[in-house]
């Protein structure tokens, strides 16, 4: 009996060593393959491009009503309505043209960290410290809370959520370090995504119709690309030196940007399988919470802890402009679906629309 278990230990010892060796060989081979494709520098290639003209982006609306830090926002597909969620435990639906609040929903807990509009514009989802993602159908006659439905449950806080191309499926990310895809109709888990070694902070679905992939980023400083159908992590991107707070696809779907506590934004290319640009400046020392692209992908907007929004030339890697206005951290931002305006949310309790 004793010799038998000793034998087992020896065998596992041996296999641990062999497996470690194999993993290292594979890693080296992968790095070598990637290095072969690194034949140009994006900033050098982009030098010949014309510089961008001066912008005329100004603050156009201030949405006041939250009594706590604004943590998340999303545009409706009608390019007019906005959903926002806050530390005060409220989710608000705004008419951004008039700045009127159309609905207010009180959540069971404070810190509502995630909210999202359904593609139809007639449903919203939100959640946070309640560990749940709850769906609220919107109608003018009824209080949205009367028809609410908890669709997803995680074992830690909900950090982000996003409907897929329909109102019937929703993807969630959580502090329990997993992402999950849920069926809205019967509140069932369709697929879960395990692999992150820390809280998932942000997810984004591929904008391409045949994509079937999404990207996630989190406190393990790693961004992962997932196959929605199989649940497999198909690509992994390292490089950030601190938490990744936000991930966002480049409009073509071939790359994605990240915003991190290390005060940089980065661009990762899916097909070249590597980091291709890093947006940083010595004077920028505060973390970036949110990123989004203009519709052409030329501009990358970043919302920072120093209360500013930096506009980067995504190709040249240089800063094109700074937007001032918020009195506290910029926690979230999104370009409107038609690409004509930008909405930012802040710890100063307000949202602002820029155009």
């Amino acid at each position: 009996m004793a010799t038998e278990s000793l034998g087992k230990i020896l065998r596992t010892d041996e296999s641990v060593e062999a497996l470690t060796r194999e993993a290292e060989t594979l890693k080296a081979k992968l790095a070598e393959e990637k290095a072969k494709l690194n034949d140009v520098d994006m900033c050098v290639v982009s030098q010949r491009l014309e510089s961008l003209q001066q912008f005329n982006i100004k603050p156009r609306r201030v949405l006041k009503g939250h009594q706590g830090k604004v943590l998340c926002m999303d545009w409706s597909s009608d390019k007019r309505h906005i959903v926002s969620s806050s530390q005060d435990g409220k989710m608000l639906i705004w008419d951004a043209f008039t700045t009127n609040k159309e609905h207010a929903v009180t959540m069971p807990t404070t810190w509502v960290m995630a909210c999202s509009y359904g593609p139809s514009g007639s449903v919203v989802a939100c959640g946070g410290l309640d560990n749940k993602c709850t769906i609220y159908p919107l109608s003018l006659e009824e209080d949205p809370a009367s028809k609410k439905k908890a669709v997803a449950t995680h074992t830690s806080y909900l950090s982000c959520c996003s409907f897929t191309c329909s109102d019937y499926q929703i993807l969630t990310g959580s502090g329990d370090s997993t992402c999950a895809l849920w069926d809205v109709e019967n509140s069932q888990l369709i697929q879960s995504f395990h692999g992150h070694a820390g809280d998932v902070m942000s997810i984004d679905l591929s904008p391409t119709e045949t994509g079937n992939i999404f990207v996630s980023g989190g406190c393990d400083k790693v961004a992962m690309v997932w196959d929605m159908r199989t649940g497999e992590c198909v690509q992994m991107f390292e490089g950030h030196e601190a938490d990744i707070n936000c991930v966002r696809f480049y409009p073509s779907g071939d790359a994605f940007a990240t915003g991190s506590d290390d005060a940089t934004c980065r661009l990762f290319d899916l097909r070249a399988d590597r980091e291709v640009n890093c947006y940083k400046k010595e004077s920028i020392i505060f973390g970036c919470n949110a990123v989004d692209f203009s519709v052409s992908g030329r501009l990358l907007f970043g919302g920072y802890n120093d209360y500013t929004v930096n506009i980067w030339d995504a190709l040249k890697g240089t800063r094109s402009a700074i937007l001032y206005g918020h009195d506290n951290r910029v926690s979230c931002l999104r370009i409107s679906p038609d690409g004509t305006s930008l909405c930012t949310g802040s710890w100063d309790y307000t949202l602002r629309v820029w155009a």
Binding site: V16, L30, F97, V234, S294, R298
Partner: protein, 69 residues
């Protein structure tokens, strides 16, 4: 419990190796090519990027007063 811990390590390593194999099997394209396509995408869409080329009618911007009236 070294045996227990080791079998845990084996499982973890095997998982990592499977993951690495998946990553290694992904097709890859040269950076020069992907960057060229990215620049082409930008150029093709810049005209309709209203944060770069503002459109005349933006509901968030104040309306220009009509001079004819």
């Amino acid at each position: 419990m070294p045996a227990y811990r080791d079998s845990d390590t084996v499982r973890k390593l095997s998982g990592e190796i499977d993951q690495l194999r998946i990553h290694a099997s992904q097709p890859r394209v040269k950076l020069s090519e992907t960057i060229r396509e990215m620049i082409n995408y930008c150029n093709a869409n810049m005209q309709s990027d209203h944060l770069i080329n503002p459109e005349k009618e933006n509901p968030f911007k104040p309306k220009k007063t009509c001079l004819i009236l």
